[in-house]
Symmetry: C2
Subunit: 431 residues, 2 copies
């Protein structure tokens, strides 16, 4: 229902005002929509509660045959992935952002997992599917999906973040809404077979040090992957959150490279070639590299550094009342577990420790929360993640001192939300 405005400050303000008005309208509707008895009960002095009888209606609803595969409530129809029409030329080469401000816990439901395609999401018939490993191996092999399913499975919760997540924000506060600034991420329980197990089946030759992973979509997606990562924690995954992959997430098989940029998690994977050097493919040279101030580009910047963001309050979730409010957010690191998250209400001058929800898992989203007491004045909300390596999420200023101002990818800087005196929340840039 909300679309990002063009990156002008007046446009952002209109969007915010509209959002706040809708929230107020919804609250009024809640009161007016109630039937007489229920309304009286809700407004009543708690010491004079209605008698111990049904006090809002009991309904005979749907039977069990109504929904062989269930869907969310009609009242949650606003919780959907959204794209930004002006961001890309076509929807086949575009991104659909996860509504992270509407999530609870660290699991992303499959229907809301962010998707990024370079040439659309093909619908593959698993009966036709084949996966090949060739190149510097003892025995090149072709596997059916059934072959892959016969290996002992592993299941792990991992986040997948696009290297371009928050990419627009290098050039100031561009997008108003955490769905757009930070929604190129999802986190599910992936199930599949360790890539090492499959590679051991074909036997990598001693001079095989690099893999090329190739997708089955029309973009000819391919990426170079060092053998160490493949042998460490890479997974050939066929399932997410208990069921087979969704088409837009690579059905029936994708690569999972925990902690590394999403573009390398090749979807609809159909081939791995083993070689003795990287391929320098299009998507690791002309794209997914970081142009520095001196005109040279960093490449093979695979790991996603520690990052966090407050998902409430945020532009989509204004502060609705004075007094104690909850701060909720997500933190993650491609280098391991989250150790601490700090939050600030004064733009980073003072920090307090947030609570972390358990379990805190390796290369997985971690939920945090904290309280803040709102007196109606302006507040600058920030969060800062620290991972188990001791790495501390940096400011944009610190990042740009190293990388200059040409970057698109790997913006893991601290996000600032301005809560204004109306309780509306704006994406702002400090310093």
């Amino acid at each position: 229902m909300q679309r990002p405005s063009a990156p002008s400050s007046s446009g952002r303000r209109r969007f915010l005002k509209a959002g706040a008005g809708m929230a107020a309208g919804a609250a009024a509707g809640a009161v007016m929509g109630r039937t007489g008895a229920a309304a009286a009960a809700a407004e009543a002095d708690p010491t004079t509660l209605p008698p111990n009888v049904p006090w809002w209606g009991q309904y005979l609803g749907d039977g069990v045959a109504a929904h062989p595969y269930g869907m969310p409530s009609e009242f949650e129809a606003h919780v959907v992935r959204r794209n930004v029409p002006w961001l890309t030329a076509t929807t086949e080469s575009s991104v659909n952002f996860t509504p992270i401000h509407e999530l609870h816990g660290f699991v992303t439901p499959n229907g809301l997992c962010f998707e990024r395609h370079h040439a659309g999401a093909p619908s593959l018939n698993p009966a036709d599917f084949r996966f090949m490993i060739n190149g510097l191996v003892d025995t090149p092999k072709i596997f059916t999906l059934e072959d892959i399913l016969r290996f002992p499975p592993v299941s792990r919760f991992h986040f997948l973040e696009c290297a371009a997540n928050s990419g627009m924000e290098w050039r100031g506060a561009q997008l108003n809404g955490v769905q757009y600034t930070h929604g190129m991420i999802h986190c599910v329980q992936y199930t599949g077979v360790p890539l090492k197990v499959v590679l051991d089946q074909v036997g990598v030759k001693p001079n095989g040090t690099w893999l090329m992973a190739e997708g089955g979509d029309a973009s000819g997606m391919n990426r170079s992957i060092p053998l160490e990562k493949a042998m460490d924690d890479a997974i050939l995954a066929y399932a997410m959150n208990g069921e087979m992959l969704r088409p837009e997430n690579g059905y029936p098989l994708r690569l999972v490279l925990p902690g590394w940029e999403g573009n390398m998690w090749v979807k609809w994977i159909r081939r791995i070639e083993v070689g003795d050097q990287p391929w320098f493919a299009r998507e690791e040279t002309s794209k997914y590299t970081d142009l520095l101030a001196n005109g040279k580009a960093r490449y093979f910047t695979w790991e996603m550094d520690a990052k966090s963001v407050i998902t409430g309050p945020c532009p989509e979730k204004p502060v609705l009342r004075k007094g104690v409010n909850q701060i909720k957010g997500l933190a993650w690191s491609g280098r391991g577990k989250i150790k601490e998250v700090h939050v600030s209400t004064d733009g980073g001058r003072n920090w307090m420790q947030a609570r972390l929800a358990t379990p805190v898992l390796d290369k997985c989203l971690t939920c945090f929360n904290a309280e803040f007491d709102w007196d109606g004045g302006e507040v600058l909300l920030q969060s800062r993640a620290v991972d188990e390596t001791g790495y501390v999420q940096p400011t944009m200023q610190a990042l740009q001192e190293v990388r200059g101002v040409n970057s698109i990818y790997h913006n893991n800087s601290i996000q600032t939300w301005l809560v204004n005196k109306s309780g509306e929340v704006e994406n702002v840039r400090l310093g």
Copy 2:
């Protein structure tokens, strides 16, 4: 696509034959359906692989705007919840079983979570929703959903099992299919507020020792819950697997009582009354009690004992070839973590230890797997869970020595699958 047969052995056999035929047909289709080049590649000697070029088609698929809320692949349309029409009088008072043989990992996707209603699944407007706590409390209160959402959240993975899961099996091998024998279970990440936090807001009086939890559906579901459990690990949950509860799972608020029978996890919860004794409600007296041989009934048998089942091979997943095959399954305990799972291929004479997938969480499904080498002869597959208290999943014989033969609920006995010489799998009863 498969429906359970009536409980006659000839019916079961017909069902199995049909199942095996379909599996074989699908495999044949896989070969015949391929295009020439791909078929040649798949049949080729691995040493003469096709050249390093695209070898199955690359497709331009859907753009990102096509599915704001995503759905499974069209090729997974058979993975759905199923009901058993002859089991109940109406679909509003019935059960939809989770296809646990199609799951991967321990998360159940929300669309496949088993549902059991006593009077349908109402569609509630969250703006109208109110939750009351009254009775022996200092300050009775009515909460809106927004009030509940303002408390600091907790998220935990827990299984929910109906006390009647496997209930038909007390009287012999009745249902052929693990979806029906063991599918009244699901496991998701629940998010909400600890019930203790909300009770502390209203102040339970010193003589308040029992709660009555009341649902907002047309069945007037209510159950008595001891205060200790409420103050221990109970959750008022509003979300599952990252998104708001599904209507059939209690949207917008349900009780979560980790490890306890599902009937007590009151859905669409609208009221908790605090009292000084249990209510002896209909669903804890005439139902959800265990009739013993002497005519007396056990009641308040809340905890779900340790249990496990092999989900592949199983009647829906025959053994397709000789040689090494995977055994996959699920184990759980209402008393804590799973410590070990043993599997047997000879009906329980010899046992071997299965691998457990990590993380192993408290009162959560745990996946296990092991190999077995099939020589084409008859095999009796069993699994046996041991939880962290040392409790060992019993045989049906052991259970019936204690409880007699009148039971419906709390059958956690060892399940036996007979793999016959055709590789088909039958539900059988030993001893």
